[in-house]
Amino acid sequence: MSIFKEKSVFTRRQFVKGSGMLFAAAVLAGIFAKIGFEAFDTSEEYIEQRAAGLYSLDESMAIRKSHENPEILQIYKDFLSPGEVSPVSETAHHLLHTKYGKDIPGLIEQLNAHQHEAA
C-alpha cells in the first residue's frame, strides 16, 4: 500500500504570509498590552497619590486619636459618665450603641424619656 506524504517545500510566499500573520498578531497584542500596562501604571500612580494625600491630611491634624479629643473627654465627664471618663458607662452604652430595625422605636422612647429627665 502506498503512503503519500507532503514534501517539506517551503516557498518565499509561504514564509511571507506566515510571518506576516505572526507579525500582525504581535502588533495587535502589543497595542492591547500597551493600553493595559499604561492604564495599570496610571491606576497605581493614582492610588499612591491618593494614599499619600490621606496620610498627609492625617499627619496635619491637631487631634489624631478620638480618645484624646478634649471635647469627647468633656462630654464623658459632664454627661455620659459624670465626673470621670468611662467609655463603657451605662449611659454611653444606651446612647452611643447603634440600634437596628424593630429596636429603634424603643431607642427613640428611651431618648425622649432622657430628654424629659434632663429638662
Binding site: 516557498t11 495599570f40 491606576s43
Partner: protein, 218 residues
C-alpha cells in the same frame, strides 16, 4: 472518482495534538462562558461553582493561547503553509462556493478540484485564526487589568468577546457536523482526531489539486 490505492498522511502528530488541546480548551471556555453569560448554575457547578468556573475559564484561556503559540513556534513551516493555503483564493474556490461543495441539495453543478482544504474550510480557517486572536486580545485585559482600564474599554472588550464567542461556537458546531457527522465528509474526523491518515481515493476526490501535487512529489 479516480481509482487510487493507499493512504495519505494529512495531519502530522503535532498538528493533531495541538488540535486536541485547542479543542478541549475551547469546549471548557465555551461551557464556562455560556454559564457566566446566562447565569446557568448547572454548568458552573460542573466546574465547582461560579467562582471556580471563573478560574477554570481564565486558565483554559491560557492553554488556548499558549498551546497554538508553542505549536506555531515549533512548526513555523507547517503554520506558514497552512496560512498560505487558506489565504490563497482561486476561481476554483469561488466555484466551490457557488455550489457550496454539493452540501446543499438544491445547489447543483460541478465542483471544481480543491486544495488540501476546500473553500469552506479555508473560510473557517481564516475565521478561527481571526476569532481566536480577538478572543485572546479582549479576554486578557478583562482578567489582568479590569481594575485599571476605563469602563468604556472594558465594555468594548466584553461585547466583542461575547459576540466573537457566539460566532466561533456556531462555526465550530458547523465544523463538527461536517467533519464528524455528515456522511459525505465524516472520513475527515479520523484523520484529525486519530491517526492522521485518510484514504488516498478520498483525498484524490475531495482534495484533487493537493493530491496531484503529492503524486508529483512521489
Amino acid at each position: 472518482m479516480s481509482e487510487v490505492n493507499g493512504k495519505v498522511l494529512k495531519h502530522g502528530e503535532q498538528t493533531r495534538s495541538m488540535h486536541w488541546i485547542h479543542l478541549l480548551a475551547f469546549i471548557i471556555l465555551a461551557l464556562t462562558g455560556i454559564a457566566f453569560y446566562w447565569d446557568i448554575n448547572g454548568i458552573s457547578n460542573i466546574f465547582g461553582g461560579p467562582a471556580n468556573a471563573s478560574l477554570v475559564h481564565r486558565w483554559a484561556g491560557v492553554v488556548f493561547t499558549v498551546g497554538p503559540t508553542i505549536y506555531i513556534l515549533l512548526n513555523f513551516e507547517r503554520f506558514a503553509r497552512f496560512v498560505d493555503t487558506i489565504t490563497t483564493i482561486t476561481k476554483d474556490d469561488f466555484g466551490w462556493l457557488k455550489t457550496m461543495g454539493g452540501y446543499i441539495p438544491f445547489l447543483k453543478g460541478d465542483i471544481p478540484p480543491q486544495d488540501k482544504y476546500n473553500a469552506g474550510q479555508k473560510m473557517l480557517g481564516c475565521l478561527i485564526i481571526l476569532g481566536c486572536l480577538i478572543m485572546i486580545l479582549t479576554g486578557f485585559p478583562m482578567w489582568l487589568w479590569r481594575h485599571a482600564l476605563s469602563s468604556g474599554f472594558l465594555a468594548f472588550c466584553y461585547n466583542v468577546h461575547f459576540w466573537t464567542a457566539i460566532i466561533l461556537i456556531l462555526a465550530i458546531c458547523g465544523h463538527f457536523f461536517l467533519a464528524a457527522i455528515h456522511p459525505k465528509s465524516r472520513v475527515e474526523f479520523a484523520s484529525m482526531m486519530l491517526d492522521g491518515y485518510i484514504d488516498a481515493e478520498i483525498s484524490a476526490h475531495h482534495n484533487e489539486k493537493w493530491f496531484n501535487e503529492l503524486q508529483q512529489g512521489e
